[in-house]
């Protein structure tokens, strides 16, 4: 009894909004419920994301050292000083090199692992777990192993011990940027940490490729192996690849943990943009103005790279939410 009456009452109420689909509605006013559900999140988002961003843009035009309520307007000076600061511009170069190395390598390794695991007939769950497991390890812990056990630069480190068996002299991986051996350390640690995660994305995508495509290709005379991979698998993975590359790029931009813990913070090389911002804003000078200007520059850069990539690679084309 109550069911029918409540439905009868609830239906005419939102009549103005959508008379075409009232029978799909749950009881209650949608507008009120929408804000009930999303309100807490939106308030938090406003306070902890939007307010800081606006505040940061505000601060970036002021001389703000040791204070967050500055009085001296300096216009674009903070931007000028960041863009002419060789440490900051150098960090952008560091990021570019890092992204150029880590994005394609992770893409290739995670795809290769996914294809290997996908073809396994038994023990598939075991190997998937093994490759996925490093995702649980923090960048700090991994940096520690890499720095203090594998690439120590002296003979007790694993790498130099193994190389020593072949008569190779000790290599100082982390104390000298010439030659830049530190890239080997930095890139391998992140490869190990993140390849398993992206492998899962590729595995899911591989499972979604219809088997008929491979049958059709076989009938058309495509050889299994490279030809099938090139003309069937790769195009079918396009949407996932694009998403993976985008995620990798954004993650590379935010590189901090492993650089901070592996490379001496006093070094003038191998500093990522975030490390420079960290030192500028929270170092000895506590220069929030310049730090904020750097953050704004970085955000603009990330957004333009993301949008450019979206434009060239058609992000979202194959995976519209609905």
């Amino acid at each position: 009894m109550s069911t029918t009456t409540t439905r009868g009452v609830a239906q005419p109420a939102p009549a103005k909004a959508a008379p075409a689909r009232p029978r799909r509605r749950l009881r209650g006013n949608p507008t009120f419920n929408f804000w009930l559900f999303t309100g807490p999140f939106l308030v938090g988002l406003a306070i902890f994301v939007f307010v800081p961003i606006v505040w940061s843009i505000w601060l970036s035009f002021f001389d703000a050292r040791f204070t967050v309520t500055p009085s001296k307007f300096v216009g674009l000076d903070n931007y000028k000083s960041m863009l002419t600061n060789p440490n900051f511009t150098g960090s952008l170069v560091t990021f570019t090199v890092f992204a150029a190395l880590i994005v394609p390598l992770t893409w290739a390794l995670s795809l290769a692992l996914a294809m290997l695991v996908h073809r396994l007939r038994f023990m598939r769950a075991f190997f998937r777990s093994v490759f996925f497991l490093p995702t649980a390890v923090s960048y700090v812990a991994a940096a520690l192993i890499w720095k203090m056990s594998i690439f120590t630069g002296v003979r007790f480190g694993l790498m130099n011990t193994v190389l020593g068996w072949f008569g190779v002299e000790n290599i100082a991986y982390l104390s000298d940027p010439n030659p830049p051996w530190y890239w080997l350390v930095i890139v391998t640690v992140r490869l190990w940490l993140q390849a398993g995660f992206y492998m899962i994305l590729f595995l899911a995508a591989l499972q979604n490729i219809p088997a008929e495509l491979y049958e059709a290709a076989a009938i058309d005379g495509a050889k299994p192996g490279w030809q099938t991979f090139r003309y069937i698998t790769l195009p079918q993975l396009r949407a996932t690849s694009t998403a993976v590359i985008l995620l990798l790029l954004v993650a590379a931009y935010q590189a901090f943990d492993e650089f901070f813990n592996i490379i001496s913070t006093k070094a003038t090389w191998g500093q990522t943009p975030l490390m420079i911002l960290y030192k500028t804003a929270l170092g000895e000078n506590q220069d929030y103005g310049a730090g904020s200007a750097g953050a704004v520059i970085l955000t603009v850069l990330i957004c333009s790279v993301t949008l450019l990539q979206g434009k060239f690679m058609g992000f979202g084309r194959g995976e519209d939410s609905k």
Binding site: F34, V68, H118, F132, W192, V250, Q254
Partner: protein, 289 residues
């Protein structure tokens, strides 16, 4: 999931006289697996060794199993490791509970409640995804410090609860949630709130478990924000404590590795135990092709 290997792959492999190809496949995958497991072995080996065993040139495969390293670590006067473990636990657990609650509600609202401006609100949320959280740490620090939240749990937890990304993932998930179940709720005369708690959440536990694991891991492993906010050693998280070991000359190698091993163990267990949901969850996040 494991049983749905495409038949075609199997057939074509059989045709190629599979045994050799298969052996090669398993050799390749095993070599890769050994490389991936190597760092775990190194942590365990070093954590149970003496310092000379770690830094000596003669490499031994097995350590001398110094179990006393565990108590030595927790009694170390320079870093209060037990306290940092506790801090990380409190932070990771409350972040998981809070984020799931706040972001799942918002995700459901955005996906399923027919409000005419819902899409505009969604674009506002999407816009925050474009600004990576790590870049906003300077302004966030400014805000949190002016609230007086430095060195507090509040400062470490609350700013991290409003994850645009988690909200986005929940929205994607709820878009695919079967409408029939909600129609059953409508027939039963439930409102949005009742339907959400009595129908939607109980039928989405797998996805919630996956999101909980992901949030817990990222809370436990977070470094930059705890480093910035936790200035007093009593508010350090495990990751900040570990990092301090690397610059602190007085701490010994075996203690560093024991601390690393202990910091990783809970997650490895969580990971192996919840692996099935995790993999499904990641595969379901809407980033698939």
């Amino acid at each position: 999931m494991t049983t749905t290997a495409p038949q075609v792959g199997r057939d074509s492999r059989k045709k190629r006289g599979g045994v050799l190809g298969n052996t090669g496949l398993y050799i390749a995958v095993s070599v890769a697996a050994l490389l991936f497991l190597l760092p775990f072995y190194l942590i365990l080996r070093n954590s149970l060794s003496t310092d000379p065993e770690i830094t000596g040139e003669n490499w031994k495969l097995l350590p001398s199993f110094q179990w006393g390293n565990i108590s030595e670590l927790f009694n170390d006067p320079t870093v209060d490791f037990a306290k940092s473990m506790w801090n990380s636990t409190v932070i990771a657990v409350s972040m998981t509970v809070g984020t799931l609650l706040i972001c799942s509600l918002a995700g459901y609202g955005l996906a399923r409640i027919p409000y005419k401006h819902a899409n505009k609100v969604f674009y506002v949320v999407l816009a925050t995804l474009m600004v990576p959280t790590a870049v906003t740490f300077v302004p966030s620090f400014v805000l949190v410090s002016s609230l007086g939240w430095i060195d507090t749990y509040r400062g470490l937890i609350i700013p991290g609860l409003f994850s645009g990304f988690t909200c986005f993932l929940f929205r994607q998930y709820f878009l695919g949630f079967p409408k029939e179940l909600e129609e059953a709720a409508r027939v039963d005369g439930l409102g949005y709130w009742g339907a959400y708690w009595r129908i939607v959440v109980p039928n989405s536990l797998n996805f919630f478990a996956a999101m909980a694991t992901i949030t817990f891991i990222s809370g436990w492993n977070a470094f930059l924000w705890p480093l910035v906010i936790g200035q007093d050693p009593s508010s350090w998280t495990v990751q900040v404590a570990l990092s301090s070991f690397m610059t602190n000359q007085t701490v010994n190698f075996h203690l560093i590795f024991m601390a690393t091993a202990i910091s990783i163990l809970p997650l490895v267990f969580v990971f192996l135990f919840l692996q099935r949901w995790l993999v499904q969850g990641i595969a379901q996040t809407g980033i698939k092709g």
